[in-house]
């Protein structure tokens, strides 16, 4: 066996704290190693060229590169050795950067540790076996989860690109948060006026199949071949018959149902259509409020419905869709008022959240677009906005910036002046964050043209005094406390991950951060990919984002799906589990522990029961290997022998 080893300096990243020349010299002494060298940037073109030439000249049949994490460049070097005629699995990478040079300062210790790491890689590569990919067919249908603006954009772009799209939305209508907004910054154009046409496009597109009021139950399979179970939640209205006439809503005697669409600004009916532009424009019963469900009698809607669409007996329905890729666009959630006891924790009706104020401003909202405060339905003359209500607050578990609040506060303050010309708005802020195109000019306009008073500081307490709400805070620029007697207070509550985000991530086998936001494959270079192949991200499920950024990601995710589906066949990763049927005792523990349902029982002709790995489903995680009591199931490229060879390499030296 002829092993060649290439030690990378990575500029000063590695060479700064590791004596790379010494590592190369020590490596040359290892049995099997016939060539070892160090190089400034092994990943560069000349660096790769050197590997290829060494393979030819030195007749190498195995290659080790000691450099960065395999997550960075393993693929680069596998292609390099393949081009030089070796099997791509006759290659190993020793991570001497993330694991060594970046974390230790002592050069001597680092150098010794790097030598050990190389020894392990050499031992492994000498035990490596050639592996070959097989190819499989791709189902070119895509599922988009979430019908907000990001998901709609992804769905439309995929459909326009010729793909069949399954769009799943958990609420009764698509449109997401954007459908609730009044105007959009910095252009003050009507939100539903620009979103409405897109919603109609989704509804009318022959390639888009919409499941509204539905949730993902279970996801099985792998890139190119997923089977997804969808729960169509019971609406108690047969949507094939419902015409959206609204007669039921008008006659419903229950007038105190919680209005999810309007964030509880005003109550709604137990049977309702969320908003006039809803798609699908269908009615739905809320059984927690409906008298038919709570008291067992009523039936008014069933009597009034001209098409006989009401069905109190309806049950959830599970359907299965086969698809090849998934775009996740599940959006975000918002902090509730109960997080702020010093601001009344929801006890004061005239302290509301930013999204509630959107609904009050909105012509299709409960006040028909007239600004009326919730307590007494009067027009507020003094409105105070509090930015960062929860955001950038480590003590509340939200150390990050919520991204778009500074902008929507400026917009709402401008709109307040438009609606109520003799009003005065105040904004408490810590920093004004407005880095988008035309954004900073917009916040200036709020102050210069609309007279909004910006106060640099925070609010410590809000309390009632007669009909007013006293807002007490600090103006840190003045260095004093300030008090404002307000009619209405709007809190820009923190953006958090969508409810159930973690649960969804587990169904999708994708990672999420401490806050429940989904983690992209690379923060700069793979912003819409996940580490699970075939699953892509769009919009605020990855982190707080405004409309243009969400739309951009929707399109980006669609383009990733289209490029994935440009091939008819995909190559499988051969580094998967394999059963030695002679050693297998048929206990089938592996079937139970496999998180991907990739192992099934097989009865051999002899009648012997054994485990069988479904090659395309296996993700190569290795759980089965550690479960198997007799070592019969082995993960290729990470077999017991290969791993023990690594252990021996450091323990026996």
């Amino acid at each position: 066996m002829r092993v060649g080893v290439f030690i990378c300096h990575c500029g000063n990243n590695i060479a700064g704290t590791v004596d790379v020349a010494k590592v190369a010299a020590e490596t040359r002494k290892l049995p099997g190693v016939v060539y070892a060298t160090n190089y400034m940037y092994t990943c560069s073109e000349p660096g790769q060229e050197e590997i290829k030439q060494a393979i030819q000249k030195e007749n190498l049949d195995r290659v080790v590169v000691a450099a960065c994490s395999p997550r960075m460049h393993e693929n680069t070097f596998r292609k390099t050795v393949e081009k030089a005629g070796l099997n791509r699995y006759f290659f190993e990478m020793a991570n001497i950067r993330e694991h060594i040079s970046w974390i230790g300062e002592d050069k001597e210790l680092n150098t010794n540790k790097a030598i050990e790491a190389v020894k392990m890689a050499v031992a492994k590569v000498m035990n490596d076996k050639p592996l070959y990919s097989s190819s499989f067919k791709v189902n070119k249908r895509v599922m988009v989860i979430g019908g907000g603006v990001a998901g709609m954009q992804a769905a439309l772009d995929c459909a326009d690109g010729g793909l069949d799209v399954v769009l799943v939305e958990k609420s009764p209508s698509i449109g997401g948060m954007m459908a609730r907004l009044d105007k959009t910054f910095p252009t003050i154009d009507c939100s539903i006026c620009i979103l409405g046409p897109k919603m109609v496009d989704v509804a009318q597109h022959e390639k888009i199949k919409l499941y509204a009021y539905s949730e993902i139950e279970e996801i099985k399979g792998y890139v190119g071949n997923y089977q997804v179970k969808i729960r169509k939640k019971a609406t108690y209205v047969d949507w094939t018959k419902c015409t959206g006439c609204g007669a039921c809503m008008e006659k419903c005697p229950t007038r105190n149902a919680y209005d999810h669409f309007n964030f509880g600004v005003a109550p709604t009916r137990a049977i309702n259509i969320p908003f006039p532009q809803a798609i699908p424009k269908k009615a739905k019963i809320d059984p927690t409020f409906c008298r038919q469900f709570t008291k067992g009698k009523c039936g008014v809607c069933a009597k009034i419905c001209p098409t006989g669409a009401i069905n109190y007996e309806m049950e959830d329905e599970i359907v299965t869709e086969d698809i090849g890729a998934i775009v996740v666009a599940t959006g975000y959630g918002l902090f509730d008022l109960d997080k702020f006891p010093e601001y009344g924790a929801g006890r004061y009706p005239d302290v509301i959240t930013g999204i509630q104020y959107e609904r009050i401003l909105n012509a299709s909202g409960p006040t028909s677009g007239h600004i009326l405060r919730p307590s007494d339905q009067t027009e507020p003359k003094t409105v105070v906005f509090v930015s960062c209500a929860g955001s950038r607050d480590k003590s509340l578990g939200v150390p990050y910036c919520s991204n778009f609040c500074c902008m929507y506060i400026a917009k709402q303050a401008i709109l307040t002046k438009d609606h109520v010309p003799d009003s005065q708005s105040y904004v408490f802020y810590m920093d004004i964050r407005s880095p988008g195109k035309g954004y900073d000019e917009f916040t200036r306009r709020a102050q210069e043209d609309y007279g909004v008073k910006y106060i640099r500081g925070r609010v410590s307490r809000i309390y009632p005094k007669g009909k007013k709400m006293v807002v007490r805070g600090a103006d840190t620029l003045l260095g004093t406390q300030v008090e404002i007697e307000a009619d209405l207070v709007v809190l820009a509550t923190a953006v958090i991950s969508a409810p159930g985000a973690a649960n969804m991530a587990e169904k999708l086998h994708i990672s999420y951060d401490t806050f429940g936001f989904y983690v992209e494959s690379h923060p700069k270079l793979r912003p819409v990919e996940t580490n699970t192949s075939g699953v892509f991200l769009a919009g605020a499920c990855q982190g707080p984002k405004d409309i243009p950024a969400s739309v951009g990601q929707g399109s980006a995710a669609a383009s990733k799906v289209l490029s994935l589906f440009s091939k008819d066949m995909l190559e499988s990763d051969p580094a998967i589990a394999q059963v030695n049927i002679n050693a297998c005792v048929g206990c089938l523990k592996c079937v139970k522990t496999c998180p991907f349902q990739a192992i099934k029982e097989e009865v051999l002709r002899s009648g012997k029961k054994v485990a069988k790995v479904i090659e395309t489903v296996c993700a190569g995680c290795g759980v089965c290997t550690s479960t198997c009591p007799c070592g019969a199931i082995q993960l290729q490229h990470f077999t017991d022998n290969q791993l023990l060879a690594e252990v021996n390499a450091i323990c026996q030296s």
């Binding site: 010093e342 960062c388 950038r392 607050d393 480590k394 003590s395 509340l396 810590m430 640099r456 500081g457 925070r458 609010v459 410590s460 307490r461 007490r472 805070g473 600090a474 103006d475 840190t476 260095g479 004093t480 406390q481």
Partner: protein
């Protein structure tokens, strides 16, 4: 305020000292102003508490230790409770008072005198003898009739003792004072 030459007048040792003695990381403060917004005493402070934090970050030892603010703070803990960065601001104020006392620069003599009278009572009797504390404070501060108007009210209600009540272990308490003073001398 005069121009502060940050290259020459940043007292890095002071920053380090306050961080060490208080156990708080001063650079966590991003100057949101929440402490000032809730501080009940800020109207009387010469520097609002968020500015005390800023002056600390800038290593302005003299301004901070000579300030009235650190003595007018009553440790009501509102700042600590509301700090989004989880800084124990009230504990930093405590630490600043301790350092100021140690360096013999106390801007609010009356408050220090009141505290001293209080502690004298503890040292002497083991507990607080309210009447004695008040009289001692009045004598030392020169405010001879402070709260004299309250006297009849309190006395007729039988609430305040004319004579001190000494606990048995008063000497043990006094020993805590003495041991502490010895230790303080040892540590310089």
């Amino acid at each position: 305020m005069d121009t502060i030459n940050l290259s020459e007048k940043t007292d890095w040792e002071f920053i380090e000292q306050v961080q060490k003695e208080s156990g708080q990381n001063i650079s966590l403060c991003y100057q949101c102003g929440n402490c000032t917004a809730g501080c009940p005493y800020t109207n009387y402070f010469d520097y609002p508490v968020s500015m005390v934090m800023r002056l600390l970050q800038a290593g302005q030892k003299d301004i901070v230790l000579n300030s009235k603010a650190i003595w007018l703070c009553a440790t009501c803990e509102t700042c600590t409770t509301r700090c989004p960065c989880e800084i124990d601001v009230a504990h930093i104020m405590d630490t600043l008072r301790i350092i100021a006392r140690r360096e013999n620069r106390v801007s609010e003599k009356d408050i220090k005198l009141f505290y001293d009278s209080f502690l004298d009572s503890v040292k002497q009797f083991g507990r607080i003898y309210e009447m004695g504390t008040l009289l001692m404070y009045n004598l030392r501060s020169g405010h001879l009739f402070a709260d004299a108007d309250l006297g009849p009210k309190v006395l007729t209600k039988g609430k305040i003792h004319f004579f001190p009540k000494k606990i048995k272990g008063a000497d043990k308490v006094a020993q805590i004072f003495e041991r502490f003073q010895k230790r303080a001398k040892r540590h310089g």
